[in-house]
Symmetry: C2
Subunit: 249 residues, 2 copies
DNA sequence: GCCCTGCCTTGATGCAGATCAAATGGGAAC
DNA sequence: GTTCCCATTTGATCTGCATCAAGGCAGGGC
C-alpha cells in the first residue's frame, strides 16, 4: 500500500474538470482503479431549464458537472422556493450511501454531466481511500459556502445580498479568465427570478437593487445580463464582506 | 488489507459520544490505529458563555463534543451575527487541512470537548481510510442540515422559523430520551437572543412569536425555558415542513 | 429584607421588502 | 417589417418584522 504516484483520472482529463477549479474527484489511484472508474462513467446532457432530478426521486448515480450550470433547490408545499446550491463545472453531486435525491436539481444552462452508477462507485470508495479524502475536502468546501450563505440569508439587506452575489460571480469569473487589470465583465448566468430564489428575495426587489447599484455607479449594465463591475473593492464594501474574505466556492 | 472487525474507538467509549447519536469518529480500525488515536486525545472544558475559539484564530486541533452545547457563528463588522451551526454531543468540529478557525465557536452551556492535535490526526487520516469515510458521512449530514436551514432563513416567516426550531429541539429530545407517548417536554438550551441569531430574527420577534404559539395552544410554557409541545403534528404544520420531513441532525 | 443585573415581555412606531399591477423592451417566429 | 412572448423594469400600496422604549420578573449578593 502506501501512497502512489499522483494521477489525473481519465474522466477528468476527458472532461477537463480537474483543471478548472481543482474540485473534482482527483485522487491518487493505481491503474486498476483508474480503469474501473473509466469503465463506469457515462455522460448525460440536459437542455437549459430541464430538471435533472426531483427531490425524493430515486437517484442511482453520482456525477460531476462537465460544462454548464445546475442549481440545487428546495420547494415548500405552497411554492416558496430556496436555492441551496449552485453547481459549476467540476462540482460533484450525489451522496454515497443515500438512495434518493435530497433536492431538486435543475439545469440553468445547457448542461453536461459525467455520471457514475452509485453502487460500483461506492465499492470503489471503500477500496480507494484517496477518493473519500478528496470528497471530504470538497464537501467541507461546500459546507463553508453554505454557511457563508446562511449569513447572507439571515442578516444581509437586499442591497448587500445583490452585491454579494455579483461579487461571487465576478470573483469566479476572474479565476476562470484571469485578466491583468481593468473592470471585470461577465454575463449573469441567472435570471432575476433565479437570483431571487438564491438570495431569499422577490424578483422585483432583485431588479430594483440591481438598478440601484447601476444608478450608484458600482456596476454598469449592457442589456439585462451583461455586467461590468467598475470597482470591485467598492462592490465588496457594499456586500458587507470582511475585506477580501473570499467566498470559498 | 480489506475490512476489519468493527471496533468502537476508545475515546468514544470514554466519552460516550458514539452511542448518543452515531455521529462521532467511529471507524473500523486495527489496534495500532486505536492506540495512536488514544494517545493523541486530550480533554478541554469550558464554562457556559466562554469562547472556544474566534474566527481567524490559529486552530491546531480538531475535536468532538463530549457533553454540553456549542455554537458556530459568524459576525459582520457592524455586529450583525448569524449562527451557522449547533454542536451537540458527538458532533465534530475542525477541518483537516485548514489551520485557522472559520467561525466563532462558543460554549452555550458548560462544555467538554475531546480534542486531537491536528497534525497527527491528519496523518492518521491518511493511513486510515475508514476515518475519512466516517468524516465524509458526518460532513454530508451537516451540509444537509445547513441547506435545510437556508430554506428556513430565506423563505420562512418568523412564526414558521420558531416552530421549526422547536420541532428540531423536540425531535432531538425524543431521540435522546424515547418516551412511549404523551406531550414532549424539554428545556430550551438557548436564550431568546441565541434563538434570534440562529433564526435570523431579533430577540423581540422571537419572544413575540413564542408567546403567540403559546397563546394558540401549540405549546405551553412554564417559566421562560421549560416547553411542553402539546401537539407535535400541529407544530410541524406551523413550521411549514413537508409532513415529517426530518431535519437531519 | 434590599437592590442589582440579566433575561424576557410588551407596546408604539417606522421602514425594507413583499405584493399587486402595469408598462417596457428585446428576441424569435413569421 | 409585424406580432407574440417573456424577462425585466417601474410604480403604488401593504405588511411583517425591526427598532426604539418601557416595564416585569427571578435569582444572587449583601
Amino acid at each position: 500500500m502506501g501512497l502512489r504516484e499522483p494521477v489525473i483520472l481519465p474522466h477528468l482529463q476527458d472532461c477537463g474538470s480537474c483543471t478548472i477549479r481543482h474540485r473534482a474527484v482527483c485522487a491518487r489511484c493505481d491503474s486498476d482503479e483508474l480503469a474501473r472508474l473509466e469503465q463506469m462513467k457515462y455522460y448525460r446532457s440536459f437542455e437549459a431549464g430541464q430538471t435533472v432530478i426531483w427531490s425524493g426521486d430515486r437517484m442511482d448515480f453520482v456525477a460531476s458537472v462537465v460544462s454548464g450550470i445546475a442549481t440545487l433547490s428546495q420547494t415548500m408545499e405552497d411554492g416558496r422556493r430556496q436555492m441551496v446550491g449552485l453547481l459549476l463545472p467540476s462540482d460533484f453531486v450525489g451522496r454515497p450511501g443515500r438512495s434518493t435525491a435530497a433536492y431538486d436539481v435543475t439545469a440553468t444552462t445547457d448542461l453536461l454531466m459525467c455520471c457514475f452508477r452509485k453502487k460500483p462507485f461506492e465499492e470503489l470508495i471503500l477500496s480507494t481511500p484517496h477518493i473519500s479524502q478528496r470528497l471530504l475536502e470538497m464537501t467541507l468546501d461546500e459546507l463553508d459556502a453554505a454557511r457563508e450563505w446562511m449569513l447572507l440569508l439571515g442578516r444581509k439587506t437586499a442591497r448587500e445580498k445583490i452585491a454579494s452575489l455579483l461579487a461571487i460571480i465576478a470573483r469566479r469569473d476572474v479565476s476562470l479568465n484571469p485578466r491583468k487589470s481593468g473592470p471585470i465583465v461577465f454575463d449573469l448566468p441567472l435570471t432575476r427570478e433565479e437570483m431571487a430564489d438564491y438570495l431569499g428575495l422577490t424578483l422585483e426587489t432583485v431588479s430594483r437593487q440591481v438598478s440601484a447599484l447601476k444608478r450608484d455607479g458600482v456596476i454598469s449594465l449592457e442589456g439585462k445580463r451583461h455586467v461590468t463591475v467598475n470597482d470591485f473593492d467598492r462592490l465588496l464594501e457594499v456586500a458587507g464582506d470582511d475585506s477580501d474574505g473570499g467566498y470559498p466556492v
